[in-house]
């Protein structure tokens, strides 16, 4: 419908500033009742006092509450961001069909800008900063992958679908990955027999609930849980992990274990 033109089309037209102001006022305005409905909930949901956000998000929120156009543009922008993530992690079904599971997994890891090592070989296949890589891995169709390093990439739960057939995986490093969360950890049970080394340091989305899922990895020998920002009691969690996985060596550095002094008065 004609009523859905976004504000950008108006901006791009060669009209003068005054005409722009006029057209802004005549965008699809939302009725006042809806505005109060939208503004009211935000006051009640946060129990933690947060600092007021900076100017640009506040302006965007103000505009999106009053104009449908801005709200639609903002939802488009978040959809595009998600689309980028989905494209990085889609299922390499065609490659799997034509070249086999191992090549598909290898191609996926290289396109994520990670690195891997085949079983029985000693050199790693990596892709450089610009995404270029050596195509020699295509010669090893029947070798499964033993070590995977996808640190600082965009791997997530759906991307793990490409790696499920690698039943001989021994080492996995997802350090610094922003999209690795608790559900990703719960899916690692696929590698429960062979996985020996797991590095999940610096992942901002992992919390205790996901670490509890690591109990299924009975073969784990080395676990790195350093610098997980969402862990509230890192020392206690490290001890509980050591109890949970008795044969595993847990590394948990990068936390501040100093006591926090509070200024409360105690009587007596």
């Amino acid at each position: 419908m004609a009523s859905r033109f976004p504000i950008l089309c108006i901006c791009l037209s060669p009209f003068s500033l005054s005409m722009f102001c006029v057209s802004v006022c005549q965008l699809m305005q939302r009725s006042c009742r809806q505005v109060t409905l939208l503004a009211a909930p935000s006051r009640y949901w946060s129990s933690i006092p947060v600092a007021p956000p900076s100017l640009q998000p506040r302006l965007l929120l103000f505009l999106s509450q009053r104009f449908h156009d801005i709200e639609t543009i903002l939802s488009w922008s978040s959809w595009f961001k998600n689309r980028g993530l989905r494209q990085k992690n889609f299922f390499y079904g065609y490659t799997q069909q034509n070249y086999g599971d191992n090549i598909a997994a290898a191609y996926y890891i290289l396109s994520l800008k990670g690195g891997f090592r085949f079983a029985g070989q000693s050199e790693w296949f990596r892709s450089d900063r610009r995404g270029k890589f050596n195509w020699d891995f295509m010669n090893h169709r029947d070798t499964s992958i033993e070590e995977v390093d996808v640190s600082n990439t965009l791997i997530n739960y759906t991307g793990l679908e490409n790696l499920v057939k690698q039943r001989g995986l021994c080492t996995l490093s997802v350090s610094g990955c922003a999209e690795v969360d608790d559900w990703f950890l719960s899916r690692l049970h696929i590698f429960q027999d062979t996985l020996e080394e797991l590095d999940i340091s610096n992942c901002p989305r992992i919390s205790v609930g996901g670490l509890a899922a690591l109990q299924k990895l009975r073969g784990l020998r080395r676990l790195d849980v350093s610098s997980l920002p969402r862990l509230q009691n890192p020392g206690l969690v490290a001890i509980l992990l050591e109890e949970m996985l008795p044969h595993c060596h847990v590394t948990a550095i990068g936390y501040d274990h100093s006591l926090i002094y509070s200024h409360t008065q105690t009587d007596g």
């Binding site: 033109f5 506040r58 949970m244």
Partner: protein, 480 residues
């Protein structure tokens, strides 16, 4: 370049496609059109001052019950509407503090280990929803939703008598796509050295998408997103309905009354003031109190052998949960353990606290007029706990609470769908303890039923009211 001018309704096409709209005459026409629209029936404007907390006078869909199922239905209705403000949804909740709501008093577990494939699919879809919850329920400029999901899995223990049922269920679950594994006694002892495997022959452990989470966070996430999409919320109690009756005669000469709800009377808390809300569809998602809402429509009050005489078989059943502290108990890897005696427990937090409970026998059901905890009941739970986990011999009960199950006395499974005699009342109730874990999927199914006319993604016609009329129960064998 066409700039269109919209008044309060997004549906009316604009006939003036002028660019220069700043003239006086245009403004006057616009004001006149708005006033005329306000005066027409169907708009909200009244010349009198009215109480702000009253619900609107007209709503398309009224959802009775503001628990997680009710808000899930409201969210999905708004998600699925084809045009902006296509349906006006009103959620009526009796208690703003949610002090008796089953949602917030539940243990918060989700599992795929059911015996009915429909239940397994409901859980799997809900787990998928919760995995991508921020894609669905994030609101601009608000914190992302954090359900605090613990992925520890459910562990069911079976004695010799019920081991064959567990094996059958395992086959059904694997066929439906759930990731479950069966453990023998030795494997169980290896996995959980703190368990005493006396009497246990088989165990079934969920590998993925099982665990527990915070139900209050889920409820608030649904509520926040639904309100941001324009759902109306009202704190009041539905005390009655005004309906029209259409009497028809069957071939044998019996009369059948078909009712259609016209108005739902919503009474304000602590007041006699009420608002009759004119509505097209009413959804009964009142949980443990759905039976009372159904009685307001006369369901169950007819003659004994007629369809009108079959009441909604949902009644509140009280269940207790005890918080215990045990310093030497099982650690971070404690799953949600359900023993064959009916006792269950799970870890709570990191400080050696656990929550435990048991479903009482039919004869020992506590009375449901209040939510007082019977501490003597724990004496029945403790021996089973201590037998199963020897470390629990020295534990201390720190706290307890009680909550209602919306218990379906017929077959302990949900009732989803329309009533044959009331043309516009839908039910989404009777889940008997697993309403929370199925709420996202049930909400979507109900929205499809209401807006699309039938189930599209998951077929829940097995849960319709028909099975209660034909007296064919769909028993769920894995009830906790």
């Amino acid at each position: 370049m066409i700039l269109s001018l919209l008044g309060r309704s997004a549906l009316r096409p604009n006939r003036n496609n002028n660019i220069f709209l700043n003239t006086d005459l245009e403004n006057q026409f616009k004001a006149f059109r708005e006033k005329a629209a306000d005066a027409m029936p169907g708009s909200d404007w009244t010349p009198f001052e009215k109480n702000r907390s009253l619900p609107p006078e007209r709503a398309d869909i009224v959802i009775v019950g503001g628990g997680v199922v009710g808000w899930s239905i409201a969210y999905w209705l708004k998600q699925k509407e084809m045009i902006r403000d296509g349906v006006r949804v009103l959620v009526v909740e009796r208690d703003p503090t949610y002090s008796q709501a089953s949602t917030v008093l539940s243990a918060g577990g989700i599992r795929q280990q059911f015996s009915l494939p429909e239940n397994i699919h409901l859980s799997m879809i809900s787990a998928d929803f919760m995995r991508n919850i921020n894609e669905h329920l994030s609101v601009l400029n608000e914190d992302p939703v954090d359900l605090q999901f613990n992925h520890s899995g459910y562990l069911f223990l079976a004695s010799e008598k019920v081991a064959h049922i567990m094996e059958e269920n395992y086959r059904t679950q694997r066929y439906a796509g759930a990731k479950v594994s069966l453990l023998s006694t030795t494997q169980l002892k290896e996995k959980c050295p703190w368990i005493n495997t006396d009497g246990v022959v088989l165990a079934s452990y969920g590998l993925e998408n099982e665990g527990w989470f915070d139900p209050w966070m889920l409820l608030n996430a649904f509520r926040r997103k639904a309100i941001s999409m324009g759902v109306y919320q009202c704190f009041g109690e539905v005390t009655g309905f005004r309906y029209t009756t259409n009497t028809m005669t069957t071939a044998e000469g019996d009369t059948v009354d078909f009712r259609r709800i016209k108005y739902a009377n919503v009474q304000m808390p602590n007041s006699l003031e009420y608002q009759p809300v004119e509505c097209a569809i009413v959804v009964n998602a009142a949980g443990a109190f759905s039976g009372k809402v159904a009685e307001m429509m006369g369901i169950g009050l007819g003659l004994k052998d007629t369809i009108a005489g079959i009441p909604l078989p949902v009644e509140p059943r009280k269940r207790f949960i005890y918080v215990v502290h045990c310093p030497n108990g099982p650690g971070l890897d404690t799953p949600f353990l359900v023993d064959y005696s009916g006792v269950y427990f799970r870890r709570e937090g990191l400080g050696g606290n656990y929550i435990a409970g048991m479903s009482p026998e039919e004869e020992e059901e506590p009375e449901t007029n209040n939510l007082e905890v019977d501490h003597q009941f724990f004496q029945k739970i403790w021996p089973h706990l201590a037998h199963r986990v020897p470390a629990f011999e020295c534990l201390k009960v720190t706290s307890a609470w009680a909550g209602f199950y919306d218990y379906n006395t017929f077959d302990q499974n949900g009732i989803v769908g329309m009533h044959p005699l009331v043309n516009n009342m839908f039910f989404a109730t009777g889940f008997s303890g697993h309403g929370l874990q199925h709420s996202p999927a049930v909400g979507r199914a109900m929205a499809e039923l209401i807006l699309d006319g039938g189930f599209k993604t998951l077929d829940l016609s097995a849960f319709s009211f028909k099975r209660i009329m034909t007296k064919e129960p769909m028993l769920e064998r894995n009830i906790v």
